[in-house]
């Protein structure tokens, strides 16, 4: 534990104010400054990189044609447009982080599945179908370069969002009942998320401090949080998943009591208010990311 009791007590009491006073003076829904780039890797279908105080994350999306017909039983679906598949993988090297593989798993464990599930829910697999049992297999590989002391989920989610939004797939020129054939021209490629589709899900990390909920918490804020959980919000605004990350501090009365165990737990109503807060922040985050993509595109053309 890197923080002393007076430190924890100070941070906690500032965060319990209305409005909360965060150590870096952010408002409760603002993010740490970050720098983002998209389409940085020539061998991928879509890629993005975000560097922030929270660390550095690079995401590459690759699509490969696969024959899914073997898994299908009826003839109808074999001749129909077919389906694709999604696979998410996270790589993070312990080398520069000092973290062990298991510790990292504890930080981000299971988020891959949440993302896969979220994308599937939005019907991405149908859009990945090419025809005659063939479909795109989408590999989303996330590279976390420095695991920060705080939880990197928000960083991973933002970078993945950008990478998915820049992903383009070659345009098929074959009929659905033929073997797949594609247009070589990259300018003719189709975006994975056309304008009229639901956007990829976003995952935000939330901490609870008394009546306050914080977005994008730092390590010291997590250390004094009553509860810390990730909220996954789908493109349609629905909450798709909630996962408790860690609970370290407990408020007893009005003072933080980290050294006494066995007093955890947060009221149902406050737990819900945190989820609602995250869900209300998501559209704004999405708009910010979309603006960023628009700027990148304008710079290119």
């Amino acid at each position: 534990m890197p923080y002393s009791q007076p430190e924890l007590s100070f941070i906690s009491s500032s965060l319990l104010n209305t409005p909360p006073i965060r150590p870096d003076l952010r408002t409760s829904n603002s993010f740490r400054p970050l720098r983002a780039e998209t389409e940085i890797l020539p061998f991928t279908n879509g890629s993005a990189r975000i560097v922030s105080e929270a660390g550095e994350c690079i995401v590459g999306v690759k699509a490969e044609v696969e024959n899914f017909a073997e898994h299908m039983e009826d003839v109808v679906s074999k001749t129909a447009r077919g389906r694709g598949g999604v696979e998410v993988g996270i790589t993070a090297k312990a080398g520069s982080t000092g973290l062990k593989e298991e510790e990292l798993f504890n930080l981000v464990g299971g988020w891959e599945r949440t993302l896969e599930e979220g994308l599937r829910e939005d019907g991405i697999e149908d859009r990945l179908g090419i025809g005659r049992g063939y479909g795109w297999k989408l590999y989303i590989d996330i590279l976390l370069l420095t695991t920060p002391a705080s939880n990197p989920i928000t960083l991973l989610s933002l970078t993945t969002y950008l990478a998915l939004r820049t992903t383009r797939l070659p345009n098929p020129i074959s009929e659905p009942n033929e073997d797949p054939l594609f247009n070589d021209d990259w300018d003719q490629s189709l975006p994975l998320f056309p304008e009229d589709t639901t956007r990829p899900p976003l995952t935000l990390l939330v901490t609870l401090h008394g009546e306050n909920s914080l977005i994008d918490p730092t390590a010291e804020e997590i250390a004094v949080a009553e509860a810390c959980y990730t909220v996954t919000i789908g493109g349609n605004g629905k909450v798709m998943g909630v996962k408790t990350v860690e609970t370290s501090g407990h408020i007893v009365g009005d003072k933080l009591d980290t050294w006494l165990g066995g007093r955890g737990g947060v009221d149902r109503s406050r737990w819900f208010s945190g989820i609602r807060y995250a869900a209300s922040c998501a559209p704004e985050v999405r708009t910010a990311l979309e603006n960023l993509l628009a700027i990148e595109q304008a710079m290119e053309s």
Partner: protein
Amino acid sequence: MSRYELLSPEGLRIDGRRWNDLRRVFAQMATQPSSNGSSYFEMGNTKVICTIQGPGEPTSRSKTIHDRCSISVDLNYAPFSGIDRKRRGRGDKRTVEMQTSLENTFAQAIRTTLLARSEIIISLHILSQDGSVLAACINATTLALIDAGIPLTDYLVACTSGSSSSYSTQNDEDADPLLDVNSLEENDLPCLTVATLGATDKVVLLLMENKVNVEKLEEMLAVGIDGCKTMRRILDTTVRKHGKELLEKREQLR
């Protein structure tokens, strides 16, 4: 005979370069605030990120050397780096071999005796591979080491060269050596990676895994070393530019 026309009748290569042209080099230093030193290095479509942790307390007792520092290299190919998606495991033989040769190479450039009983951890992430991966790793590491303020005797720079000899077998005499090979050339031609200490002719690392005529080897080496000299100039420009920016920032803060 190869499927691709690696050298056009006019003597231009597949990406339009002449025989002694380097690909576009783009380098950045201090890309990551949370590490002791970091860099980003691009040679054409080969892209590498390097971060340095240390010099610091060795992570394990076996890494402690009493009269100098130990160097650990952690190399990682991103699954999306190649043409096909491929995950490489921890114990991948080629990766381990590259790690070892990088450790040995940098032990010759770093003033290890000044940092006794400490450890330097070099992590390299290959984001995109299009030939000359080892050379790009070496150049990236040099920049990151400078950013970390680790004493070096000189820039350790690397470059690759190939020979078009086996390609034009009928007239082997006038086969050209090629500087800085990309992945298409690397797959079809005999190639070598050479690393030198600064602009000197002192070769620190030489790696070649193909069959080639001895005279051609000499030519390739000469071209490679010339490439290293150019590379040193490029790295030096990057470092100076970075230093200047840092100084300007400091002036502004005053």
